[in-house]
């Protein structure tokens, strides 16, 4: 039976079950359902059970940490010492990381158990999880549909109850969009809140790790462990982490919520608009003050994002060259052949497309027109939000313009795929925190509602989401096949 992180903590504390028992339970669910869903690239049974035994011993000694004994899954771009870390790519299929990412260390410190590493779009590039060397992931609500991406494996695993919580990363929407499409709760914190050390980079100035779970309350618990300054990441914020769980339950009486008109404009599925309006009505009943706002540069966010993210990735992915680690082509005749074939054979089509576009954008003669221009637009997009936050506490809208689409529906149309991120991408450019939570269903597929907070105000986001989840039950729904 699938449970929430909160329920597992309570059950372990009360001695209703042991960590080994609950871990075995999840491993059994993974063995049963993963073949159909393909959520996991690696299942780390031995590590999970060893950690669960340690957790039980710690519980018995009364030395439980915040997450002692709680099994979790990690996106396969967080380096895990001694465990394959593939980033969904052939080029890292043979890569056993020799160290732990900071967030992995944090989970270990707090006693969590690692079930395995989840599937993802190759190097986190994608919105459907169809760009993985390990094959696409199915959406647990309808296995003919995509789970979203790039953290599709983590979102689907939580939705199907193969893990009570999981980690993901979000560069343009890669936590919020799959959370929306799979009907789970996910939060992308402020840039700098969670260390990027050991998180394989896609777009370094945009990437941010965060959790998926069944509720805002569970997300608060997981984010607490993930957050904090890390001297190994120069871009991590040297700022105190508030008590996220303690911030829940304050209610939202008088909370000012802005609805950006650009998020309800053309391109949004009317049925999604209706779902969000219903949710807004609920929030108003809880005392929130709703007002219309404008984020005029929203339309520029996609081109801006794709220039910056691709420019950064074209450089970030240069280290995958077949020289020191990862895939190397057979019998290279010379150095150039080694580079060309190792990278040509090791990377998938979408990754190559982005490296080429990014390389072009940074080239002599084009830099000013593309990269520099994009940086200027990025500042304008950020200013939009800063102005909005002068009058509101939170911003609300849909997470995605449509529900989960069918597998294969957009694989030949990259631009249409990129448009899936229209509402999520500008937060990454601005560095703001955002989360997605379930707000309804259309044709049996979940609809996500996005909340956007001010810098380092994750507590306000989590509290608002929690308040909504106290009066709604969309987040408690489980797909029939995985009950």
């Amino acid at each position: 039976m699938a449970r929430s992180v909160t329920e597992i903590r309570q059950g372990l504390a009360a001695g209703e079950f042991s960590s080994v028992e609950i871990t075995q339970d999840y491993l059994a669910r993974i063995a049963q359902h993963n073949p159909a869903l393909n959520c996991f690239i690696s299942v780390t049974d031995d590590i999970a059970l060893a950690q669960a035994r340690e957790a039980d011993a710690a519980l018995a000694r009364g030395e439980a940490g915040a997450l002692t004994g709680v099994p979790l899954a990690h996106k396969d771009l967080f380096c895990t010492d001694g465990v394959k870390t593939s980033c969904g790519s052939r080029i890292l299929d043979n890569f056993i990381a020799p160290y732990d990412a900071t967030i992995i260390e944090n989970f270990r410190r707090d006693g969590a158990v690692m079930l395995g590493k989840t599937n993802m779009d190759e190097f986190a590039m994608g919105s459907s999880n169809e760009n993985s060397w390990y094959g696409s992931v199915a959406n647990p609500w309808n296995t003919a549909h995509v789970p979203g991406g790039s953290s599709g494996g983590s979102a689907a695993a939580v939705a199907a109850g193969l893990a009570p919580g999981a980690t993901g990363t979000d560069t343009g929407g890669s936590i919020r969009q799959p959370a929306a499409l799979c009907g789970v709760t996910g939060i992308k914190p402020t840039y700098g809140r969670v260390s990027r050390y050991g998180m394989i980079a896609y777009g370094s100035s945009l990437d941010q790790g965060g959790p998926f779970a069944c509720s805002a309350e569970d997300c608060a618990l997981l984010l607490q462990t993930m957050s904090g300054f890390d001297r190994r990441d120069s871009t991590s914020a040297e700022q105190a982490v508030p008590d996220y769980c303690g911030a829940l339950g304050k209610g939202i009486e008088g909370l000012k919520i802005g609805l950006p008109k650009e998020y309800f404009a053309e391109g949004l599925d009317d049925r999604i608009a209706a779902v969000i309006e219903t949710a807004v009505a609920e929030l108003r009943k809880l005392g929130a003050e709703i007002q219309d706002i404008s984020l005029p540069n929203t339309g520029l966010s996609i081109p801006t994002y794709y220039v910056i993210a691709m420019a950064e990735c074209s450089s970030n992915l240069s280290r995958f060259d077949g020289v020191r680690f990862g895939y190397r082509c057979e019998n290279p005749v010379d150095l150039e052949d080694l580079y060309k074939r190792s990278r040509g054979e090791g990377f998938g089509a979408e990754v190559k497309r982005r490296i080429m576009i990014g390389t072009y954008a940074l080239s002599a003669g084009y830099y000013d027109a593309y990269y520099l221009k994009a940086q200027q637009l990025r500042r304008m997009i950020k200013q939009d939000f800063q102005q909005a936050f002068d009058s509101v506490d939170l911003i609300l809208g849909p997470t995605t313009p449509e529900t989960a689409f069918k597998l294969g529906a957009k694989t030949d149309d990259p631009v249409s795929m990129y448009l899936q991120d229209i509402y999520t991408i500008s937060l990454n450019l601005a560095g703001l925190p955002g989360m997605s939570l379930p707000a309804g269903f259309i044709d049996g597929l979940p609809v996500g509602m996005q909340l956007i907070g001010n810098y380092f105000d994750e507590a306000a986001l989590l509290n608002a989401a929690h308040s909504y989840q106290q009066v709604s039950d969309w987040h408690l729904q489980t797909p029939e096949a995985f009950k």
């Binding site: 050390y197 394989i200 370094s204 990441d233 120069s234 871009t235 240069s318 680690f325 580079y339 940074l362």
Partner: protein, 479 residues
């Protein structure tokens, strides 16, 4: 040659003497087993991030303050993208648009009495690459990443030099400066101090610069001079034969004494510089700069001025003594023992000692005669224990390792006879034995005095104090 003018600018890479690397905690020590000083960050493993070593920033600012440069409060690291097996990340973290040190200048003295200002365009921080080794395994190249991530300060000069000699004087000046500042050990053999030279020629009077070639792989000042001169000749010959210089990188081969093409401009990389998103801009405050300025040691220019003004040394000697930190420190250590004997000490260091060092191909820091030993020798001259002539013999013996000046004087019985009674009796004997010469002297033939001095010195086996001998002889020979 006379109708041509050469234009030279140098790019100097000084390896900063930090204990750990510029973006990781790995050691920078030279000579360890391959790949033992390369951590996850240096290897460019997936997921790792750079963290700036503040000490490298401080060292760069020390240099900036010393060359009177503009130091921006906001400095940015950029990625220079290119593929090479010893460049683990596929990009080098360097600086492009906002270097840490802006425009500055130094003065060089290419020949005695000449003084010339050389502009420094900028100096920026960057990480070194690893090393590719092509001769150890048949048909395979090996990579040693110990050096990867070592901090470098790249110092770019204006094209202000007009001859190889000036270029060498500039390179020596920078070399001296970084050692004074204790930011670089200056070891050219180990590659801690490397010079690339941009060389072009033009007809005298022409304003436009000629097409330049960049010379690489120069690991001594001698080769620097040689490489530039060869390149100047090559370019002039080429143009005079109706050809034209192409912009390219050329490698200096010291064994064949030639430069040869490495890659042309067409083959040059587009490095796609952009600000490194993994590193925050470096913020430097006025307080930081002032604190660093206050911590600087006395620099060569200041030292030279003090030597002239306070110690009364000649401009030339002061320049030579301060040209490198070790010579100045040798001088000052010895002078502390024999205050006031400034000129004598300077002459010994720049004369006999430098001669011996050059002959033995040793640096002053490796001298078998320590500053204290030299000071003792000089004090034995000034207190009349030995003569200047004897001192040369003692110096030679000290060089050979026979001990201190006092040991050698004692062991060889070189102590001067300064007892005037003993000298008088020697003189009396010589006068008595040479009545003829006495007559000649008294008849006005002054030159004969030399004969008497020689005889007395001979009788004393050279130990009689020549000054005393002279004085007493004159007295006794008076008619």
């Amino acid at each position: 040659m006379s109708e041509w003018e050469s234009v030279i600018g140098l790019e100097i890479h000084a390896q900063l003497a930090t204990r750990s690397k510029i973006f990781s905690g790995a050691s920078t020590a030279f000579g360890a087993e391959p790949n033992t000083q390369a951590c996850a960050v240096d290897l460019g493993l997936p997921g790792v991030l750079p963290v700036l070593n503040q000490e490298a920033v401080t060292m760069a600012i020390r240099f900036g303050v010393a060359i009177d440069a503009e130091i921006d409060h906001h400095s940015v690291f950029a990625r220079k993208n290119y593929f090479y097996p010893d460049l683990p990340k596929g990009y080098q973290i360097s600086q492009y648009e906002l270097p840490i040190v802006g425009k500055g200048h130094v003065f060089i003295s290419p020949a005695e009495g000449e003084l010339k200002e050389v502009g420094i365009t900028r100096a920026h921080l960057e990480e070194d690459a690893g090393k590719s080794i092509h001769d150890q395994f048949p048909e395979q190249s090996a990579i040693d990443l110990n050096r990867a991530g070592t901090p470098l300060l790249e110092i770019v000069s204006e094209p202000d030099m007009r001859s190889a000699k000036e270029a060498v004087a500039y390179a020596r000046k920078i070399h001296s400066l970084v050692r004074y500042l204790e930011i670089c050990d200056g070891n050219m053999q180990e590659g801690s101090f490397r010079c690339d030279a941009n060389v072009s020629v033009r007809r005298k009077g022409e304003q436009k610069l000629g097409t330049r070639a960049e010379l690489k792989n120069i690991n001594s000042f001698r080769f620097l001079e040689r490489a530039i001169n060869i390149e100047i000749e090559r370019q002039i010959d080429l143009i005079e034969d109706g050809g034209s210089v192409v912009q390219e990188t050329r490698l200096y081969d010291s064994e064949r004494d030639e430069t040869r093409s490495m890659r042309s401009k067409e083959e040059a990389n587009d490095y796609r510089y952009f600000p490194d998103p993994d590193l925050l801009p470096v913020a430097i405050t006025d307080e930081d700069i002032e604190r660093i300025r206050a911590s600087l040691p006395e620099l060569p220019e200041q030292k030279k001025k003090r030597y002239i003004d306070e110690l009364g040394l000649s401009d030339y000697n002061a320049e030579l003594l301060t040209a490198n930190r070790d010579t100045a420190s040798y001088f000052e250590t010895a002078l502390a023992e024999i205050p006031g004997q400034n000129a004598q000490l300077a002459n010994w260091i720049l004369g006999d000692l430098t001669g011996a060092l050059n002959k033995a191909n040793l640096e002053i820091g490796e001298s078998p005669i320590t500053p204290l030993m030299l000071a003792q020798l000089i004090s034995r001259i000034s207190d009349d224990t030995i003569s200047g002539k004897m001192a040369k013999e003692v110096f030679e013996a000290m060089w050979q390792g026979d001990g201190s000046a006092d040991d050698i004087i004692e062991a060889r019985g070189l102590k001067q006879i300064t007892d005037s009674g003993a000298i008088e009796s020697l003189i009396d004997a010589v006068i008595a034995a040479n009545p003829e010469q006495v007559e000649q002297y008294r008849a006005g033939k002054d030159k004969v005095l030399g004969f008497f001095v020689g005889q007395v010195m001979k009788q004393s086996q050279g130990k009689a104090n020549p000054g005393q001998v002279n004085a007493i002889l004159r007295e006794k020979l008076k008619p």
